[in-house]
Symmetry: C2
Subunit: 281 residues, 2 copies
């Protein structure tokens, strides 16, 4: 049986420091605050928004919500983002996906408040390997899990399945910065199982429920599962078929309780870091 | 003996179209012009500058040169770039490396004139896989060679050795856009020979003369050599030990006469494309 890489434990481990930081900021009259913007009434977005409000609340981080109907003009939404950019009480801005005019809206978030690295300036920094600004929370969460469990990346063969701008590409860039040898696979990859099987570390962000089975893994492999899906039976599962794989690998993140738990914590940390940047201004 | 992927032929093949385009632009009172900026008196930069002036001249592309001594302030150089940004007679801007304040100077080039994709906006587009703007000439040249010789990338295992922002990373991004499965290797990669050997296509941009020998290749492999070095004996050579490798691969670019020849042509094409964008303005 593999080591279970417990995302909740990783997140929990950061809790105390985060709480102290927030406490300190509040004593300095800074109330960390996340602005979340949603367009439309997609159930997933609403659930995510609710859960984020709750989590922020738990740590004493404020939230501001702006919602727009799907037929809102781009201009109106841009104005809201601009307002938040200029509002010193808002420290981080998160746009919930799916989003119309996605690219333009993301690029409108000012760099200092772009806590999930959605805009082009953040992306350029990730690509360049610069430490300025924020990196997307999901790939960063994967790195934090590896770090917490002392799983080194340097010189390792790491296969990333998925090439999205939200996970796959920034993941590859972060791993490169950590001196991993990175292979990026995707829907057009031939012999995917064979390639995955040879990886020291396998990061899966392909968006297909339980697609990765034993044949994609090896007994010394570490598997990081970024996927999250709800099965017909109402259960949550990842891109990896956990039950099928768990006895054939060295370590694996579960779903739920894996990457997702840490991702949220990273976002909160980013909001707090953004708030800290305003100190003394 | 391998097929020699003849960069000069690839470049030659583009000549006619480029000449016609330039002729047409000139009839419309647009004289394509490249601004080149150099800081210091490094012999390599001077040679490159001279060769570019000559090549541009051959095709009827104008060149403007700005040179600064190494103790020039950043501000002075920035002012020159700004001047060129605003000068409608300059269509492309190229900063010769090495360069002090490199990042800041590169970012100062306006996006429309950034013909070698040195600035952050160009980089963000490459990372995102957007077709806007220009891509760096060297990795683009590699793609053009593959295209010319009808070597498909889709689904292929392509290993890129090198992770620089000038070649390795943009190369990986371009290959991903063409649906290749891309592995990025670098100085910290373990078992480099073994990884390279398995590649369908091997792109080498590691900056080490004749480092890649037979053990890194296989008989069905295509090798693209981005390196260029001058040996003690005064000969030019690449990162690949051509003589050692040529009988063990399916196809290979020579040095000289490989990637470099096409790179220059790409740069000229970019200047002409930038000039075209000003038509009707």
């Amino acid at each position: 049986m593999a080591i279970i890489l417990d995302g909740k434990e990783v997140a929990k481990n950061k809790e105390q420091q985060l709480l102290e930081e927030i406490e300190r900021l509040k004593q300095n009259q800074i109330n960390p605050c996340l602005g979340m913007l949603r367009v439309g009434e997609k159930q997933d977005s609403i659930s995510y928004e609710k859960s984020m409000i709750k989590k922020c609340g738990k740590y004493g981080i404020e939230t501001k919500i702006a919602t727009f109907s799907e037929n809102t003009t781009k201009q109106e939404i841009l104005e809201q983002i601009q307002k938040w950019n200029q509002d010193s009480r808002i420290h981080g801005i998160l746009l919930l996906r799916p989003l119309p005019f996605e690219e333009e809206l993301c690029d409108a978030i000012c760099f200092e408040k772009d806590v999930d690295a959605m805009g082009k300036e953040s992306m350029a920094n990730i690509y360049k390997g610069k430490k300025q600004g924020f990196v997307p929370c999901t790939p960063e969460a994967c790195m934090k899990i590896l770090e917490y469990y002392h799983i080194p990346c340097e010189g390792k063969n790491i296969v990333v399945v998925g090439r999205s701008l939200i996970v796959g590409k920034p993941m590859a860039m972060l791993l490169l910065n950590h001196n991993a040898t990175v292979t990026i696979c995707h829907s057009k990859t031939n012999h995917l199982a064979e390639i995955c099987k040879k990886a020291d570390i396998l990061v899966v962000a392909m968006g297909k429920a339980r697609k990765i089975t034993k044949e994609y893994t090896n007994p010394t492999q570490v598997v990081i599962d970024v996927g999250i899906h709800r099965t017909k039976e109402g259960e949550l599962c990842g891109d990896v078929d956990f039950q099928n794989v768990v006895d054939n690998v060295r370590a694996i993140t579960p779903v739920p309780g894996g990457v997702g738990s840490v991702t949220t914590m990273q976002l909160l940390e980013h909001v707090v870091r953004a708030a800290k940047l305003t100190e003394g201004k």
